[in-house]
Amino acid sequence: MRALRSFHQWMFGYGSPVTLGAFRIIFASLTFVNLAMVAIDFDAWYTENGFVPIELLHRWNGGMPRFGLLDHVTNPHVTAVFYGLTMLAALLTAVGLFTRVSSIALLVGIISIHHRNPDILHSGDTLVRAMLVYIAVAPSGASCSLDRLIGLWRGTAPKELEPVSLWPQRMMQLQIAIVYFTTVWQKSFGDLWLNGTATHYVLHLKEFDRFPIPGFADHQPMVAITTYGTLLIELAMGTLVFSKPLRKWVLIGGLLLHGGIEYRFNIPMFAFIICSCYITFYEGDEVAGWFARLGERFKKYRLKVAAPAALKEGPELALEAADPLHLVNYTRGAGDDWVVEQEQSGAKVSTFAVLKRSMGLWPLVVFPPAWGRMLSSSTERQEAAVSAD
């Protein structure tokens, strides 16, 4: 009973949303890349002239009605536009703009695309679909997002990150554990895994070939080591990963396993997709701490910024929030201009150096003039000037 209560508290506790935000960026970006890679052969996979016309889909479904906005679409232009919009939703989700709407749109798009042609999906795709559900229902935009920066700028977002309910993050963790635990369970029914020769067979599947491996990898004891090692790591990922003292070592094991698979086998994106989920095993405060420590390593690049005296509070908070590495130290100057200098040398640099060091502002590099406009609109003076106009 105590264990259940403890699980329940863990499941529905509150905490920092930083992990959810960081994970959203990584995962939606990978989803975008994954969609872009499949789009190369769009004609083959999603059109009536392709390998999977709509009529096949209805056979695949059997008696099971499946949600899908492309289920009756035979016009390839409509499908292409839908596909493009889904990619756009992935980008918006990654940068955290209109996060709730864009992440739900991404989920709906992915489900529809997957249901349009399920025969080309691998486990990485399935994991994308499963995790996007949690991203869509989580407060994913509460941190590390343009939504938050815009909210701070306008004064509508809370100054400090508020704790959020962490059940979506817990579901992400449990989902990953389920992936590994059930695959080990499935493998326990296979004699090749039990007799320690499974990886021998996989190494000889030429269609999976990627980079070469040394000859001894296909001899005992290496085959047994890699076979049982796989089972051991997968089992640990399904169980021991929840133990805080063991977590780091178990995750390193997972990274080694998927690093090896990525090197040897041609299973595009799978390793990146599943390993990106490992971040969910860390609390938001821990992830924020990583960034702070990383920033310490780059302290020689730190800047001292004397902001105009008329800098408004909202923009100041937004600029600070956009710098998770803490590489920019803002102070309120006396003048009307932005004065930026390197903390160590005192050398003056342009305000563009601030943009380079503020990860949260990186989306602006697609349109650098926006940075200048942002700075000039951040002071009372500019606001007054605009009203006078």
Partner: protein, 206 residues
């Protein structure tokens, strides 16, 4: 393990119910099928096999019930059977013989990963996955569409269209350790498609 709430807020009970239900369904859906021995009618329960009987119950009473719609219809469905229960022991790839109206024949090379550069195969892997999901006999309903696509891609001349497409699988079975796996692949034609030339013409010319 748990971070204590700092602001006394609580998750609504209805959300808790939904979350636990979803978790239950994900676990149920992803559990493996039980081994054949416990599925037999004359199977007797033993403590050693208790987890397998749990799987049997899950298969029969939950995964096959109306609850299946929750996972299957919504897109929540998922399987984690990577290289399991055993990894594939057969290496296979596809091609097709295309026969034209004038009797000439050509081999259509379905994209084969082994022949591609490391860079190219990273982007084309879906072809391998699709072939894996299309070759088995249970997937024979997909073969005409594959053959039609091959005919469509092979149609270069309106006066000499493809009239017949024969799908072939090339395979080799990987032998156990200590035995040398053959280099040569066995070639098996598995489907012959007589091209509907009018349909093909409409496909090509819109």
């Amino acid at each position: 393990m748990a971070e204590q709430p700092k602001n006394k807020r609580k998750v609504h009970w209805a959300i808790m119910v939904i979350v636990y239900f979803h978790l239950f369904m994900v676990v149920s859906w992803t559990l493996p099928h039980p081994p054949a021995r416990v599925m037999r009618k004359d199977a007797h329960f033993s403590l050693k096999d208790a987890p397998n009987y749990l799987l049997k119950y899950n298969d029969k009473e939950i995964k096959s019930s109306f609850l299946a719609y929750y996972m299957g219809s919504t897109g929540f469905w998922q399987y984690w059977d990577m290289f399991s229960p055993n990894p594939a022991t057969r290496d296979s790839w596809l091609d097709a013989i295309v026969e034209y109206k004038d009797g000439t024949k050509m081999v259509y090379k379905y994209p084969r990963m082994y022949d591609m550069s490391i860079f190219e195969k990273y982007f084309k892997e879906r072809y391998r996955k699709f072939a894996e999901n299309a070759i088995p006999d249970k997937d024979s309903y997909k073969w005409p569409a594959i053959a039609r696509r091959v005919a469509y891609l092979s149609d270069k001349d309106d006066t000499n269209p493809p009239v017949k497409v024969t799908l072939r699988v090339h395979y080799v079975d990987v032998l156990p350790m200590g035995q040398k796996t053959p280099e040569d692949y066995t070639v098996v034609p598995f489907f012959v498609y007589r091209v509907d030339t009018e349909r093909l013409y409409r496909q090509v010319h819109g």
